[in-house]
């Protein structure tokens, strides 16, 4: 028995490790982009995002100002601070520390911070906090020596990418457009589908089975088929490429899933409740509004989440049914058509744009996961 128990626990460890590995593999790409969205383009090209939590060493070059030399012990002395007053002060974030320095470009880090280097005519000392002292037996005559140093830059994160994409690159407008497309396109199909689902679940009439089969069939019709004929139709009736057009399109495309999910759920409602209501003289309309609709809330929520995610994330329908200008572009189109082209190498900006576009779906996802899972199950596993 003991050996079996030992084997069990080893297996449990294997399970823990493989799940942890899988989770890490699945998370890493997203985390990488998230971290990068808070870094400047310089930082991104200098070090990988996986190093961003650690200080980065960077080499600098400076010339010590020659004015203000003092005399002490028969030598001329220049002193000051490289980090706060030097030429590189702008690039050096507060918290940067000098690790090493040197007097020639060949060996920029020949001496550790705090050590004293011998120069041709004297000495040079640079401390970690940037304070330096250069001595020389002859006057500097207004021109200080060159100094090279390696500084440890503390991890630094910035919101500048987000500011840039939201206010200068038009993602703010695109965000509003996405919201404008998504909300009506999520709400409108629900009622239409709910009534149809009720009829398909609880009313007896010839052709019901055929209609259900048709809905199941339409579930998988490729959207690509609908694009050209419907755009043509929209143009003929005067809607053209507009918000109204895309609302209608998303409503139509969302209906099969809505009807299917809601019907599957409604069929499972207890028969007694509905029949006793009928016996009490309730009409179908009353039964639907007062009993079935409130009871179907979980299924309605599931569909609403599906449709919300689908419309929010959609690129195809938005590309075809909305005009391609900055006033109406949604975020997916903005990223795919504008930013990836014009800012193809600017990873900070791209990453920030991507996170602006996926923040809301991720929020909805984590807040409403229960309903999402329930909806998935109702849609694919009978009785699951």
């Amino acid at each position: 028995m003991a050996s079996i128990a030992g084997q069990k626990s080893r297996l449990t460890w294997a399970v823990h490790i493989s799940v942890a590995l899988m989770v890490v593999l699945w998370l890493i790409p997203t985390v990488g982009l998230l971290v990068s969205s808070f870094r400047t383009t310089d930082q991104i090209s200098q070090s990988g995002w996986w190093e961003s939590a650690f200080p980065v060493e960077k080499a600098f070059r400076d010339r010590i100002p020659g004015e203000g030399e003092t005399q002490a012990d028969g030598a001329y002395v220049l002193s000051g601070n490289l980090l706060t007053d030097g030429q590189n002060a702008r690039d050096l974030k507060p918290g940067a520390k000098i690790v090493a320095f040197g007097t020639s470009g060949i060996k920029p880090g020949a001496y550790k911070a705090g050590e004293t280097a011998q120069t041709e005519a004297g000495t040079m000392t640079v401390n970690a906090d940037g304070a330096y002292e250069v001595t020389s037996s002859t006057s500097f005559e207004g021109s200080g020596p060159r100094v090279y140093f390696v500084a440890d830059m503390p991890p630094a994160f910035t919101l500048s990418n987000y500011r840039q994409v939201l206010f200068s690159d038009g993602m703010g407008q695109a965000f509003l457009n996405t919201l404008t497309v998504t909300i009506p396109a999520t709400i409108i199909p629900i009622l239409v589908a709910a009534f149809a689902a009720y009829a398909l679940a609880w009313m007896e009439f010839p052709g019901r089975g055929l209609l259900i089969a048709a809905v199941v069939g339409l579930l998988v019709v490729p959207l690509q088929l609908a694009l050209v004929p419907l755009l043509r139709l929209h143009q003929d009736v005067g809607i053209g490429q507009s918000f109204v057009g895309i609302w209608l399109a998303h409503t139509g495309f969302g209906l099969p899933l809505a009807i299917y999910l809601l019907r599957n759920y409604m069929v499972g409602l207890p028969r007694d409740i509905i029949e006793s209501a009928k016996v009490d003289g309730a009409t179908d309309f009353q039964i639907f509004m007062k009993i079935v609709l409130p009871l179907s809330f979980p299924a309605l929520a599931s569909f609403a989440i599906f449709q919300f995610l689908w419309v929010w994330n959609d690129l195809l329908v938005a590309k075809v049914f909305l005009p391609a200008n900055d006033q109406t572009k949604v975020m997916t189109v903005k990223i795919a058509d504008d930013l990836l082209g014009s800012r193809g190498g600017d990873w900070g900006i791209l990453a920030a744009a991507a996170f602006v576009s996926i923040a809301v779906p991720l929020g909805v996802f984590f807040a409403m996961q229960k309903y999402l899972v329930r909806g998935l199950l109702a849609g694919s596993v009978k009785g699951g």
């Binding site: 799940v19 409108i188 004929p229």
Partner: protein
């Protein structure tokens, strides 16, 4: 009018209009057309009840018919005309497709996608479902693996483009190659294999979907079968592959086909990463490259996709009808 205001009005009109339609049409049916009075009230009630389902169904049927059923016919009809729709050319667009190397490549690549993506997504999903069911923090793990479902295909493409970037300071793949002192390369430009790097993106997204559904199916397996197998001395692997997997086979098939359909529709990934260059074209992105330029050719491609989807559609309908009985 600002689009936001327009949106609010549309919501009000849509929802209000819906309720008004259903309420009014039921009222008219019960009070005006077949009122339950007169010579034979019972017959009128029956008649009203025969009409009522169609009142409930009408808006949905109209929308489905217009937005999904009509386009199947409309697209096919359009695909028989030339690029501006002025001249009937029969199957000319399809002949042009057959002669086009890019189209043949798109078909071949799509075939690879259909072969690889559903298989791997289902496999990883099944593994994740089985493994997470056995541990305490399984639900957290599940929700993290499931998370890419919420990310748009465009967002996911960007996330992975970053992983594949050919600067070893940016792209993780090249950072790893760099650690082994290998030259950096752009995974999205390696002929043939770049297709698989793109598939990774969709597998990454769809594994969570497969996992959630298969996990529910695994939990639905009757305890007795598992217990009996344990008593008979089955080891964990036998238990999984010989007892559990055969019992959830129908669900595996559903997951597999659902992802297959998706693969045939997703154009976003190829569009946002390679734009169909470097031999990565697939049918949906090939179609988009003709959209707005040559509608005849675009609809012909769409119809080809429809024909490929058709067997799955028929199979789904057969399954649905079986379940209803």
């Amino acid at each position: 009018m600002s689009p936001i205001l327009q949106g609010i009005i549309t919501i009000a009109l849509g929802v209000g209009g819906c309720i008004a339609y259903f309420y009014a049409s039921n009222l008219v049916l019960d009070k005006v057309i077949f009122p339950p009075r007169g010579a034979d009230p019972g017959r009128n009630i029956n008649r009203a009840n025969m009409v009522r389902p169609w009142l409930f169904l009408f808006p949905a049927i109209a929308a489905l018919g217009l937005y999904l059923a009509y386009p199947v016919v409309g697209s096919f009809w359009r695909s028989l005309f030339n690029r501006n729709g002025t001249e009937f050319i029969g199957l000319g667009n399809y002949q042009k497709l057959a002669a086009d190397d890019t189209f043949r490549q798109a078909v071949f690549n799509n075939f690879l996608w259909v072969l690889v993506v559903p298989a791997l997504a289902t496999f990883f999903g099944l593994m994740a479902a089985q493994l997470t069911d056995r541990i305490k923090w399984g639900n957290i793990a599940k929700s993290l693996i499931f998370m890419p479902m919420a990310i748009s295909f465009v967002g996911a493409s960007l996330i992975w483009k970053f992983v594949y970037a050919n600067n070893p300071q940016i792209g993780l793949i090249n950072a790893i190659r760099d650690a082994f002192h290998l030259q950096p390369l752009d995974p999205l430009q390696i002929p043939f294999w770049n297709n698989f790097f793109l598939m990774v993106i969709l597998i990454w997204i769809q594994t969570g979907f497969a996992m959630v559904i298969l996990s529910a199916a695994l939990r639905g397996i009757p305890e007795e079968t598992v217990e009996a197998a344990v008593l008979d001395g089955a080891n964990p692997f036998q238990l999984f592959f010989k007892i559990k997997v055969p019992q959830i086979m129908p669900t595996i098939v559903v997951v597999w086909t659902t992802i297959t359909i998706l693969v045939l529709k997703v154009f976003d990934i190829v569009y946002a990463t390679t734009g169909g260059n470097f031999g990565t074209q697939i049918l949906p992105s090939y179609m988009m490259s003709y959209m707005f330029r040559d509608d005849g050719r675009a609809t012909a491609v769409a119809f080809v996709i429809m024909i490929i989807v058709l067997p799955v559609m028929i199979w789904n309908i057969i399954q649905a009808r079986k379940e209803m009985r």
